[in-house]
Structure formats: C-alpha cells, structure tokens
C-alpha cells in the first residue's frame, strides 16, 4: 500500500486523437491566415512600468497604449481570496471541527477514521 496517490498509466490514447486533430486544424487555420507586419513596441519604453500603470488606472502615464484595469485588478484579488476560502472549505472534512491542518498536511494519506466520519455526520 502506497502512502501517496499514484499516477495511473491507463492512458486513453483514442481520446487523445481528438486533441491531435484539433491541433492540425488550428495550425492549418493559423498558418493560412496572414496578420501582416507586427507593430512592436518602442525601443525605449518600459513595458513593466506600463503594466503597473495600467493596473492602477494610470494609463496616461504609460509609454505604450493600454487600458485601465483597476477594477479588474481588484476583482481578481477578491476572486483569489474567494478561491482560497473555497479551497479551504472544500478541503475541510465535513464534521471535522479540528480544522484543516490534517487535510492540508497529510499528503493525501489514507484517512483512518473515514468510516467513523460517516457516523459523525449522522450525529451532527
């Protein structure tokens, strides 16, 4: 009995064909399309600074044209927090009042009290 999840090797290659087909189609589409010469960036412009300005809605100060993303920036921050909370919530064992320490740190070890956890569920 291994103590960690094993990587299964029962690969399903038939399904994979679909991905290959998609690649062929995409490649064919891209290679037959023509986009013309790329515009590129000014030699001396600081792209990283531009990104920073864009995130703070200070796009007028950026050297390269960009839109403001302050709202999106804040929202993505919120989403990250929510995702973290969601992850923690999901990872918590139901009825486990001890918190999430075990779930996060046991490396996916077999849970010895798994059958008992059903009972706790009923009790709660």
């Amino acid at each position: 009995m291994v103590s960690r999840p094993e990587l299964k090797e029962d690969t399903n290659y038939v399904n994979g064909l679909a991905a290959s087909v998609l690649f062929v189609v995409l490649a064919a589409v891209f290679l037959t399309a023509s986009f013309g010469e790329s515009a590129g960036f000014p030699e001396d412009a600081s792209l990283v600074a531009g990104i920073g300005y864009a995130l703070m809605d200070l796009q007028s100060m950026a050297a390269v044209s960009v839109e403001g993303f302050l709202a999106s920036f804040e929202i993505i921050g919120l989403v990250l927090v929510v995702a973290t909370v969601a992850a923690v919530t999901l990872a918590r064992r139901q009825g486990d009042s001890a918190g999430l320490s075990t779930a996060l740190t046991d490396g996916g070890r077999e849970e010895p009290r798994s059958s008992a956890s059903d009972e706790t569920e009923v009790e709660n």
Partner: protein, 694 residues
C-alpha cells in the same frame, strides 16, 4: 280596415301557444290542466279553423295576401349576376291553394285533437302534456309550412314537422319499437331533405330569392330566364333549362322523402308505431301531404321542365302501383292504410306530374279527408280491440260498432274510387289528365305519361281489392276472437270526428265533378275555378300562382311543352270505375263469407315478397348496418391506428430517441471533454469552409 289577413299569423301562433302551455305543464310535472292539455289544443285548433275559414272566405272574395313579415337575415351585397342582395325572410302567402290547405289542416287537426280525447285520455295514457305539446307544435309548424311565402321558410317548417313526427311516433318511448321507428322516419326523410336543402340553397344562389309568388318570385324569374328576359346565376356550366331541372329534382328529393314516395317510402309503414290519431293527422292527412303540396306550391317552376314533370309523374305512378301491391297482403289494419297512403300520394304526384294541377290538388283535398277518416276509424276499431291491430283477429264488428262501420265504409268507398264518393272524382281526374296529356304530348314526356297512366290504372284495381279486403276482414263475417265479440263502440269524442269526416268523404268530391260537367255542360267544376281565378286579372295576375299561369307554362314551348288530346272524361272515368268495382267485388267475393280464408297465402313466393315489402326495408337496413356502420368502424380503426398512430408514433419516436441520446451524458468527465474538443474542431472546420479561411 282590419281584415282576415291581419289575423292570419294567429292561425300559426295559436297552436304554438298551446304547445308552449303544454310544455310548461309538462315541465311543472303536475297535472295543472284538465284533460292533460287537450283543451288548450282543441281551443287553439278551433281558433285556427275559424280564422282559416275567415281567410278562406276573404280569398273567395278575390283578395290575396303575399307579404314579408319578418326578415330573418339579410345580406349586404349582390351575388354573381343578380341585382339584389340575398334576403332570408318569413312571410305569408295566402292564395286559394294555401287557403284551401289551411282549412284542411286546421280541420283535421281539430278533429284529431277531439279524437285524441277518446284515444289517449280515455285510455288512461300517461305523458299526455307531452302528447298535446307535440300535436300543438305539429299543427303550428304545418300551418306555418302551408302559409310560407318562400322556399326557405317552407323548408324550415318542413323540418319542424319532421321533428314533431319524430316526437310523436316515439311517443311510447318506453317500448323498443317506437323509438326505432321514429329514428327511421326522421332519418329517411332527412335523407330526402338533404337534397331539398341543396335545392333551397341552389334556388337562393340562382335567383337570389325564394319567393313563391308575385313579382320577382323564382318561378317567374326562371320563366323569364329561359326566355332570355332575365339573368340568373347558373352553376356547373349548365344552361338555364338544365340547371332548373337539376334544382327541381333536388327539391323533389325532399318531396319524395316527406310524401313517402319510392324509394324513400319505407319509413311510413313503420311510423304506424305512433298513436293512431297521430297517424291520421301526420302520416295521412297533413305532413305527408307537405311534400306534394310543395310541388303544387312551386308548380310554376316544375312546369318549366319536361324532365322534372316526367320524373314526378313516373315516381308517383310507380309508387301508386308498388305500394298498392304491398297493401294487398298486410295483416294489420294500420299497415294496409299506410300502404294505401303511400299509394294515394303516388296518385297525387302522378296528377301533378301529368300537368293536372287541379287534379292533383283535388286528390290531395279528398284524400286528406277520407284517409284521416279511415285512420280514425281504424283507431276506433283499435280501441275496441284493445290495441290489437291484426285484422284476422277481428271480423263482425259491423254490428257492434255501426257508426264506425258506416263512416269507415264511406271512407273505403272513397279510397277505392267508387262513384259518387270523393275519391272517385279526384282519382278519376288524375288518371284522365295523365291520359290526355300522355296522348297529346309528342315528346318523351308523352310516353312517360302514358306509362304512368298504365301503372295508375292497374293500381286502381289493387286499391279496390285491398280496401275491401280490409273492410270485409274487419267488419264482416263472424268475430274471430273474444275481443272482437265483446267490442263496444267508443264515446262521442271518437264518433263525432268520424261522422264529420264521413260526411266530408262522401261529399267533398262534389266540388269538382268534371265528368258531370262534360256530360251536362253545367259549370260545376268549382275547385277548378277556385284555383284558376280570373285570367289576366286579380290575384291570378299579381301572384302568378293560378292554374292559368301553370297551364300557360305547361303548354309553352319553353316550358314542359305539353299538349292535350281530346277525350271525353266520363269514358276514362268509366274505365277506372269498372276496374275499381272489379277489385272491390273480387275482395267481396273472396272475403265476404262468414269465415274467410287467407287467400293471399296461395300466392306463395309472390306473397312473401309482397309481405316483406319487396325487401325494401332489408336493403335499406343493409345499407345502414351492412355498409355505413362497418365503414364507420373501419374509419374509426383507421383513425385510431393510422391518424392517431402517426401522432403517437411521433411521440414514441421522440421518447425513444431521447432515451437513447441521453446516454451520451455518461458521467465520465473525459468523454465530455472529448466531445467538447470534437465539437470545437467541427465548428472550426465548418467556419473555415464556410468562411473560406483555407
């Protein structure tokens, strides 16, 4: 000045009022009226009779009435080549023909109401309000039909009398027979009315009006159209004459159904399941007369078409002969009378078809009285026999019920056509008209009339025979059952109508003694003058419903194209009288003994055929039960299996398809992802090809 015509609507409304009263009583479920509603009915019909008499007198004075009194529905725009929009109206047409018919109907109705006191009330029947309601509604509808001034109104009341006939035949609805007979009566006449209705619709579509008489009436329009003086719509690419023939024959369908002519006569014998007074009123004197009355009413239209005239005459003559043969072998008294009714209406049709407008009308008049008399007489016998109608169970009633016997005898003599009783004069005139017009006319119509005359003449022989076979078996000889031995004559309310009708059956023929006129030159053809009016003046001119007008059209090139041979009427009369006497005499000889044998049994197969009415009922029942019902069952199976099967099939296919396709959603994430991938690929390829990316 308030005259008879102002009160004419009351002729119709009075019996209707009695109907409403009786219905109200029937609904209340209590015995509110004495005699179960008979008295209002008697009062109403007596009132109608008085008013009819007043109208009759007024019409005798040369006045007529032809007015619209109620517009039922009216269109807004003219159709086809017509100038006027359609108007569907109710109105009164009071001319000599309708005045005469009013008298007949209201008189017989009154007498039958009185008779019903004896036949229904005294016998302790239940449901009398219903009975008198039916009689009242019938009388009202019949009178409404008689005074109708247009074909649509006539059709409406024609149907209503059919309803009343249905209700009254089925009066004893708790038994199995009457409802079935009622159904058959309505259904068979409905089959005829189907053609009639097409005819009514066609008349409206053709002429834009269905008025019988006066300026712009459809017979006049038709006459003008044939002469090219008026434009009407014709259909199906037919010329006016041909189209009018078609329309006339369509209307004739209703006539054949209602007047029980071949091949739609089968309902009438069955209709004898109803109470006998009803048989007398509806199935002998009046409703059955509605058909032939209609032909007389629109005679100007029929007279335009030689084909229609020939069909009318041939149908009539064939029916007269055909029904008479069946009457020869019947056992039940009402059955004999029923077949004789069919036969006699055949004579009326023959008379009308042969160009004898007066003759046909005359026979209608006399027949109404003597046949009502015979039915009421039979009713009296049936009361005495405790509702046993088999003549072989009777016999010897002559002495037990003399009033019934003598009146019945008068009616029988009239029916057989023995001089000087009413039927002789009218039947003789019918045959005379058929013969002279048959001999005179050169076209195919002439031949048809001669054939018809031949059939009519043979039927005279049979009529005499079956009439006196009936009289002999019923009244003469020894009583063959205990009931017959103990029979007693019913009360005054039975005898009074019998006596009144007996007198009429004896004398009413005197109103039109054409042979006597021919012999003596005395101007005694009163009915003829009554129906002809004054040529080119008065109502004969304005209404166009006089004998002169009809005569003119019949003999015109554009009309039926008849011509008359020159024959003395008394010679023809003598011939038919001799035949009638021979028939009656042989019946007397065969059945006159004390205990007659059933001689007709000796006819063997012929008797079976006759007794079973030439299997006419069988084939009609077979048509209904052997063809139509299986057809409808097959249609039902088809409907359920195929039509509904397709519907349910669509549903099943959808359900089955869904149950299969849903299995794509198998719960394995990888498969979903693969499908997404394939879908995206397919979409891309699709766009690429459609958008020309490659």
């Amino acid at each position: 000045m308030v005259g008879a015509f102002d009160y004419a609507p009351a002729i119709v409304l009075l019996p209707f009022l009695s109907f409403c009263l009786a219905v109200g009583v029937a609904l209340s479920g209590r015995d509110l009226l004495p005699k179960g509603g008979a008295l209002p009915g008697i009062a109403a019909t007596a009132g109608s009779l008085l008013l009819s008499a007043w109208v009759f007198l007024t019409v005798s004075g040369g006045e007529t009435y032809n007015e619209t009194i109620y517009t039922w529905a009216a269109g807004g725009e003219a159709t086809g080549s017509l100038s006027q929009p359609l108007e569907l109206t109710f109105g009164l047409l009071l001319d000599p023909l309708s005045a005469m018919m009013l008298l007949i109907v209201s008189l017989v109705a009154l007498l039958v109401h009185v008779f019903s006191l004896g036949y229904m009330n005294d016998e302790g029947e239940t449901g009398l309000p219903r009975y008198y309601a039916g009689l009242g509604l019938f009388t009202a509808s019949m009178l409404g039909f008689v005074v109708a001034d247009n074909l649509l109104m006539a059709f409406m009341f024609f149907e209503l009398v059919g309803l009343c006939s249905y209700l009254l035949i089925g009066f004893w609805f708790r038994q199995a027979g009457p409802p079935s007979a009622a159904k058959k009566a309505f259904l068979v006449t409905r089959f005829g009315d189907y053609f009639f209705l097409i005819g009514v619709v066609a008349v409206f579509a053709t002429f834009g009006t269905a008025k019988f008489a006066g300026e712009g009436s459809f017979p006049r329009l038709a006459e003008a159209a044939i002469q090219g003086e008026a434009t009407v719509n014709t259909f199906l690419g037919l010329a006016p004459t041909a189209w009018f023939t078609v329309v006339g024959l369509l209307v004739l369908g209703g006539v054949i159904g209602k007047s029980a002519q071949f091949p739609l006569h089968t309902w009438l014998p069955d209709a004898m399941e109803g109470p006998t007074p009803v048989s007398a009123l509806i199935h002998a004197a009046t409703m059955v007369a509605a058909g032939v009355y209609l032909v007389a009413r629109m005679y100007g239209f029929y007279a335009l078409s030689p084909t229609a005239m020939a069909v009318v005459a041939l149908v009539g003559a064939f029916t007269a002969l055909f029904a008479a043969t069946m009457g020869l072998v019947k056992k039940e008294i009402k059955q004999v009378l029923a077949y004789s009714t069919i036969s006699q209406y055949g004579y009326i049709m023959l008379g009308l078809g042969a160009g004898g407008y007066v003759a046909g009308t005359f026979h209608l008049l006399t027949h109404a009285f003597f046949k009502a008399l015979l039915f009421l007489g039979a009713g009296s016998v049936i009361i005495a026999m405790h509702h046993n109608e088999d003549m072989w169970d009777m016999g010897g009633l002559k002495d037990r019920m003399p009033v019934t016997y003598y009146t019945f005898l008068a009616g029988s003599l009239a029916l057989a056509g023995i001089v000087p009783f009413a039927g002789f004069w009218s039947k003789d005139e019918v045959l005379y008209e058929a013969l002279v017009h048959g001999l005179g006319t050169t076209s195919g119509l002439g031949t048809a009339l001669l054939v018809a005359y031949g059939m009519g003449l043979i039927a005279v022989l049979f009529t005499g025979f079956y009439t006196f076979r009936m009289v002999m078996l019923t009244f003469h000889g020894e009583p063959r059952t205990d009931t017959a031995r103990e029979a007693t004559e019913p009360g005054w309310n039975v005898k009074l109508p019998l006596v009144v009708l007996g007198i009429l059956a004896t004398t009413v023929g005197f109103v039109n003694m054409v042979p006597v006129k021919d012999l003596t030159g005395a101007e005694i053809d009163f009915l003829h003058k009554w129906l002809y009016g004054t040529e080119g003046a008065g109502w004969a001119e304005t209404l166009g419903t006089s004998g002169y007008q009809y005569h003119h059209v019949l003999f015109a090139d554009y009309g039926a194209g008849m011509a008359a041979a020159n024959l003395p009427s008394y010679l023809v009369g003598l011939l038919s009288l001799a035949l009638a006497l021979f028939g009656a005499g042989s019946a007397y000889v065969l059945y006159g003994g004390a205990d007659p044998d059933p001689y007709t049994d000796k006819l063997g197969v012929v008797k079976d055929v006759l007794y079973n009415n030439y299997y006419q009922d069988e084939y009609q029942v077979w048509l209904a039960e052997g063809v139509v019902l299986p057809l409808s069952k097959a249609a039902d199976v088809f409907d359920q299996a195929v039509v509904d099967g397709v519907v349910n099939g669509v549903s099943s296919v959808s359900l089955f398809g869904g149950s299969r396709i849903k299995r794509i959603q198998d719960g394995i994430v990888t498969h979903y992802a693969a499908m997404l991938t394939l879908g995206l690929t397919a979409l891309l390829v699709g766009f690429a090809i459609y958008g020309g990316w490659f």
